[in-house]
Amino acid sequence: MFSSIPAAIPRGKTGFLVVLFSLLLLGSILVSLSMGYMKIPIQDIPKIVLGKLVGGGHDQSSMRATYETVLVDIRLPRILTCAAVGAALAVSGVLFQGILLNPLADPYTLGVSAGAAFGASIAIVLNLSSTLVSIPGFAFAGACATLFFVLFLSYSPGSPGGGLSSSNLILSGIIVAAILSAGLSFLKFIADEQVSVIIFWLMGSFASKTWPQFLLVAGVLLVGLLVAVFYARDLNLVSMGDRSAASLGVDVKKVTLILLVTGSMLAAVCVSISGIIGFVGLLVPHMMRFLTGPDNRKLLPISMLTGAVLLLWADTITRAVLPHEIPIGVLTALIGGPVFCWIFKKSRM
C-alpha cells in the first residue's frame, strides 16, 4: 500500500551526503594546512599537529619546530575559524531564508552587517583599536542593537504572527540598514587617515586569527546549530506561511523570534570576528536546496558543511595561491556574484 509513498525522510541519502561532505571538509583542512608560503608535506601534518596538541615533542629539530609553530599557531586557528565562520553563515542563511519565506534572503537582510560595520567604524574612528577586543566588541554590539531595533520596528502585538511577517521584517531591515550606511559614510568622511582601516575591516579577513576566536565562533555555531535543528521541522512549516504554520500547531511568534535571534547572533559573531563576508549565507543554502530539497532538517547540516568547505577554499586561495592576499569579502563577492547570477538565470528558464 505504501509503495507509492517512500518514507518522508529518506535518511540514507542525507546521511551519505553528511559523511561525504564531512570527509571533504577534513580533506580540505589538511590540504589547506599544507599550502602557503612554506610548503609542508601533507603526510607529515597529522603527525606534527597531533604531536603538538598532545604535547609529546620528542623531535626537536629546528625545521620540525618551525613547522609546528606555523601549523599550530598560525595556520590551524585561521583555517578552523574560517571553516566555522563559513558554516555559521550558511546555517544563518538557511534560517533567514526559511523565516522570511524567501529563498533569496541572507544573514544580512535584517541589517546585522550594517550594524556591525557601524559599530566597528565607531571603534576605529574613536581610536579604540589599540585594545584588541574593542573592534569585534563594538561590531557585535552594533549588530545586536540593530537586530533588536529591527524587531522592535516590525513587532505589532495585534497581528497573528506578532507582526514578525516577512515583509515587515525585510522592510524594517532595509530602512535601518539604509540609515546605518549613511551613518557609516559619515564616519568615513570624518575618519581622515583612519578611513583605510575602516575599509579594510569592512572587506573582511581571516589573517592572524587566534585560537580563542575560533573557540568563540565554534561555540556559538554549536549552540546555533542545536537550536536550529531543534526547530527545523517547525521552520519547514513557517516557510509555508504564518497562517498555515499556526493552523498546523506551530507557535509562529515564538519560533520566528527564537530562530531570528539565533540566525542573527550567528551572523553577528561572524561579522565581528572576520568582517563582512557576503554570498556564503545567500548562495550555499540556495545551491544545497537543489541537492536536498527545501526540508530544513536535511538542508541545515549539508549547508553547514558546504559553507565551511567553500569559505575555507576561498580563504586558501587568497592566502596561498594568489601572489598577494586580497580581502576575503571581496573574493567571495567576486566568485559568488557571478555564480549567483548564473543560478538565478538558470532556475527561471
Binding site: 507509492s4 509513498i5 529563498p103 497581528s159 509555508m240 493552523s247
Partner: protein, 254 residues
C-alpha cells in the same frame, strides 16, 4: 456539547458576535467582502485574541490552549496558499500530521496511511512527487485541503477553500466533507461566496455584515429574499429546486 465556540467580540471588525457551533453540523458563513468572516475564523483558531469576550473550545478558552493542542482539534484551509519553496506535494500533505508527530520522531505507519488516504480523497495521488510550486491554483488548493484532511481534527474550517477549484472538485470535496460531518460527527465551518453552493451543502447558515450577525439558523429558514437583500443588497428569488434538492437563490441584475 463537545465543541462549543462562544464569541463576544467588541472590536471594529466583529461587533458583539455570539455564536455556538455543535458537532455533526455543516455551517456556511456568508457575507460581503470585509464583513469579518476571516476574522471570525482567526478568532476560533486563536490567531487573534478578542478585545472583549471569549472564545471557548469545548470548555477551555482557546487562548489557554497550546498551539499544538488547538491544531489537534481545529484544521484550517486558508485563503492564501502562496508557497515559495519547492516542497513535494506529499511532503506538504505530510505537514498535516505535524501536530500528531513528536519532535524528532519519524512518521508512523498510521501517519503514512492518513497522508495516502487524504491524497486519494482529494485526487492528488498522481501529483505526489511534483513540486508544489509548479501546480496550478486549484491543484495547490487541493493539496492544502488534503493537508487539512490528514490533520484529522474534529473541527474543520474552510476559508474560501474552493475559490480556485473547478466545479467537479468543489462538489467532490464538499460532498466528502458533508459525509464526514454526518458520519463522524465533525464540525465544518465554511466561508463561502457561492450562496447556492452553500445552500446545497450546509445545515446552517451564518450571515455577517459589518462585523455583526444579521441572520443565523437552519439554512431553509434563514436563506430568504429579505436576508439576501439586507446582507448583499441584491434582489433575488429563493425557492426549492427539485433538481438540486435544496433551496436555491436566483438573482436579478439591477
Amino acid at each position: 456539547m463537545e465543541h462549543i465556540h462562544f464569541f463576544h467580540g467588541d472590536t471594529q471588525v466583529l461587533n458583539n458576535v455570539t455564536c455556538r457551533f455543535s458537532p455533526g453540523r455543516f455551517y456556511a458563513v456568508l457575507g460581503p467582502n470585509g464583513s469579518g468572516k476571516t476574522t471570525l475564523l482567526d478568532l476560533m483558531c486563536g490567531f487573534r485574541i478578542p478585545e472583549k469576550g471569549r472564545v471557548l473550545l469545548g470548555n477551555d478558552p482557546v487562548a489557554s490552549l497550546t498551539r499544538r493542542r488547538v491544531a489537534q482539534t481545529i484544521a484550517l484551509v486558508s485563503q492564501s496558499y502562496e508557497i515559495n519553496f519547492p516542497f513535494l506535494v506529499k511532503e506538504v500533505v505530510m505537514m498535516g500530521r505535524h501536530p500528531h508527530i513528536d519532535r524528532f520522531s519519524r512518521p508512523s505507519h498510521a501517519d503514512l496511511c492518513a497522508v495516502q488516504q487524504a491524497m486519494e480523497m482529494t485526487g492528488i495521488t498522481h501529483l505526489g512527487n511534483r513540486y508544489i510550486t509548479e501546480l496550478s491554483g486549484g491543484e495547490k488548493q487541493r493539496c492544502v485541503f488534503a493537508r487539512a484532511l490528514c490533520q484529522d481534527t474534529p473541527v474543520l474550517l474552510l476559508d474560501e477553500a474552493f475559490s480556485s477549484m473547478d466545479i467537479h472538485h468543489s462538489f467532490h470535496l464538499l460532498g466528502l466533507v458533508k459525509k464526514a460531518v454526518q458520519e463522524d460527527k465533525k464540525t465544518v465551518i465554511a466561508v463561502l461566496h457561492d450562496i447556492n453552493l452553500a445552500a446545497g451543502f450546509s445545515h446552517e447558515m451564518v450571515f455577517l455584515k459589518n462585523g455583526q450577525i444579521t441572520a443565523m439558523g437552519k439554512t431553509d429558514a434563514v436563506l430568504t429574499q429579505d436576508t439576501i437583500q439586507t446582507v448583499f443588497n441584491v434582489r433575488s428569488k429563493v425557492e426549492y429546486n427539485a433538481y438540486v434538492q435544496a433551496i436555491q437563490a436566483y438573482f436579478k441584475p439591477e
